[in-house]
């Protein structure tokens, strides 16, 4: 039988599950994402701090080993919520940098070349497409935020005497909650910008500008109107304030009210969802 004749056979096997179809998008996207050496390098570099943290935790519990290092006096700080707060803050910069490079290259190529109708002519809907593409970033950013930090937490819990892990279980909750907030916010905003402008380079520039310009405008407004509410435009500051709330660390959030910070982050996510709803259609209707 020739290849050609075989090709018209209908597929008679059982179709894969909805979840399996959803995971097709991240699976294919990762192959493309990690083709870029910059992304691979950045992703690898994102583990330097968590690995360092693991080492610190291990050293603190191995006094004999610690005594042989020049850090003997430098590691006197406690492993507490502030320690994990600063770790997450550091990881959030890596998360932003990764988003900057990864996100535009996972959505824009579908939109700019008209591939979206092909996706949506399959048994997946628009929101499954969005979820599939979001998963690309969510899994990637999770791998550098809450997952390694939880490993650090578990190491500390296993090496600490008594029930340190149970006593400080709220830290683990804060790590997961704050990380997921960051991951979802970054993913949604980046995807919305990428869907809106379609050009990966412009999307990157806009995403970067989006982190800098509103902050500047917020500060100018703050100076002019003598209020800190202008800083609500600064999503970075809002995220910092939420992080303060979770871990009790001092981030330069400019005295934003915690509720206002949450509102700013949730509003940004809602706006991003609205933008995706408007832009991710099989075909745009010209009214």
């Amino acid at each position: 039988m020739t290849v050609r004749a075989r090709n018209f056979r209908p597929y008679v096997g059982a179709p894969t599950s909805a979840l399996a179809r959803l995971l097709v998008l991240p699976r294919y996207a990762y192959r493309e994402v990690f083709k870029a050496k910059l992304v691979t390098g950045l992703f690898t570099a994102s583990f330097i701090v968590p690995v360092g943290a693991l080492l610190v935790v291990w050293l603190k519990h191995n006094l004999a080993a610690l005594a042989r290092t020049p850090l003997a006096n430098g590691l006197s700080f406690p492993i507490d919520e502030r320690f994990f707060g600063f770790l997450l803050l550091t990881q959030s910069y890596f998360a932003f940098a990764l988003t900057l490079f990864v996100c535009p290259s996972i959505v824009s190529p579908d939109l700019v070349n008209g591939a979206l109708p092909l996706y949506l002519s399959r048994p997946i809907n628009r929101w499954q497409y969005v979820a599939g593409k979001l998963l690309v970033l969510v899994l990637l950013l999770s791998a550098i935020t809450w997952l390694p930090l939880l490993v650090v937490f578990l190491l500390e819990a296993s090496l600490s005497p008594g029930s340190w892990g149970f006593t400080n279980i709220s830290i683990a909750g804060s790590i997961v909650a704050a990380s997921l907030l960051l991951v979802v916010l970054l993913s949604l905003v980046a995807m919305a910008i990428s869907a809106w402008v379609r050009n990966p380079s412009i999307a990157r520039a806009l995403l970067f500008a989006g982190a800098v310009i509103p902050a500047a405008i917020g500060r100018i407004l703050g100076r002019l109107l003598e209020t800190e509410l202008g800083r609500l435009l600064d999503l970075g500051a809002a995220w910092g304030r939420v992080l303060e709330g979770f871990f009790g660390i001092a981030v330069r959030s400019g005295g934003l009210p915690l509720t206002g910070a949450w509102l700013a982050l949730l509003s940004a996510s809602a706006l991003a969802l609205l933008a995706l709803h408007r832009k991710l259609r099989a075909f745009e209707v010209v009214r």
């Binding site: 075989r6 018209f8 597929y11 179709p15 083709k35 190529p109 591939a115 109708p117 048994p123 009214r287």
Partner: protein, 304 residues
């Protein structure tokens, strides 16, 4: 044959414009052509069947599925080749086809195997590892076809499949569509503004004009009916040939220059005409089947 596409007052409004208006009809052909001038609503009809646009009124059923309520089943059954460019930059032909096959519900190994087969089928086997940006326009049309057939759909939507192809490429594409049709495994809905494409590939045609059904015709039945209508040109004889034809039960319409149009009754074939001509001492210099071409049907529909 059971109804394959049923349109029951289907209307679609996009923005402030009624793009499809009260489409009604039942089609059951193996290969259905959507014909009409640009802007007639052919592509909108395909997109509505795929669930991209919600009907503003009425309903439609495709392969037994309601296109609104069972949209997922429809999309599982369909392979769609869009009119415009639809590719993903940076990935190879085989990964492009395999990805869409997986999204249609095939396991990864099956999807990859079928992607290779589909690309060989359409003649892109040698270039399947090249990235899509390096493909020519004709190759992009073919790779779109490959992704539409790779997952073994029951229905194939082809939107202007010969767009941008040179004549040999167009012939190859049409031949390929005919092969798919003749395989009997896949039903085809082909949208085109090119009469020849539809005529060569389809056995039933829905002609659209300004978003309405202008005509619905069964080309297969027309072709069969046309096989009974023959045009003859004769020479010689004593003029009694037309009477003899009438004696065979034929309806005869004389034309100019000894040409006659003959409508053959059941049981009478061209062989009988040759025999009769021989008996009458008449030379048959020209014998053709009358083709009431799709062009005539289309023009009548447009005038209507």
């Amino acid at each position: 044959m059971s109804a394959f596409l049923e349109l029951s007052g289907l209307s679609v409004r996009l923005g402030k414009r009624d793009v499809l208006r009260d489409l009604r009809g039942t089609l059951s052909g193996r290969s259905i052509g959507l014909l009409g001038p640009n802007g007639a609503g052919k592509t909108t009809l395909l997109h509505t069947l795929l669930g991209f646009f919600p009907p503003s009124a009425g309903s439609a059923r495709l392969a037994g599925f309601d296109v609104v309520r069972q949209s997922r089943d429809v999309r599982r059954a369909v392979g769609y080749m869009p009119e415009n460019d639809a590719f993903i930059a940076g990935i190879s032909g085989v990964r492009y086809v395999a990805q869409f096959a997986e999204l249609s519900g095939l396991p990864p190994a099956q999807a990859l195997e079928r992607a290779h087969e589909a690309l060989f089928s359409v003649g892109l086997g040698e270039v399947r590892y090249r990235t899509l940006e390096t493909y020519s326009l004709g190759m992009k049309q073919l790779v779109k076809l490959a992704q539409a057939i790779a997952h073994g759909p029951r229905v194939l939507f082809l939107d202007e499949p010969t767009n941008g192809l040179d004549p040999p490429g167009r012939q190859r594409m049409l031949r390929f569509i005919q092969e798919i049709r003749d395989s009997g495994e896949i039903r085809i809905i082909l949208s085109s503004h090119l009469l020849r494409d539809v005529e060569e590939c389809c056995d039933e045609v829905l002609i659209l004009k300004d978003g309405r059904v202008a005509a619905l015709c069964n080309l297969e039945a027309e072709r069969k009916a046309n096989r009974r209508l023959i045009e003859l040109e004769t020479a010689g004889g004593n003029g009694s040939f037309t009477d003899a034809l009438a004696g065979l039960g034929c309806s005869v319409a004389p034309g100019i220059r000894r040409r006659v149009k003959v409508l053959l009754p059941e049981g009478v074939g061209p062989r009988d005409l040759y025999r009769l001509a021989s008996e009458q001492g008449v030379q048959l210099r020209h014998l053709t089947y009358q083709r009431d071409s799709l062009e005539e049907i289309f023009l009548r529909a447009m005038e209507g």
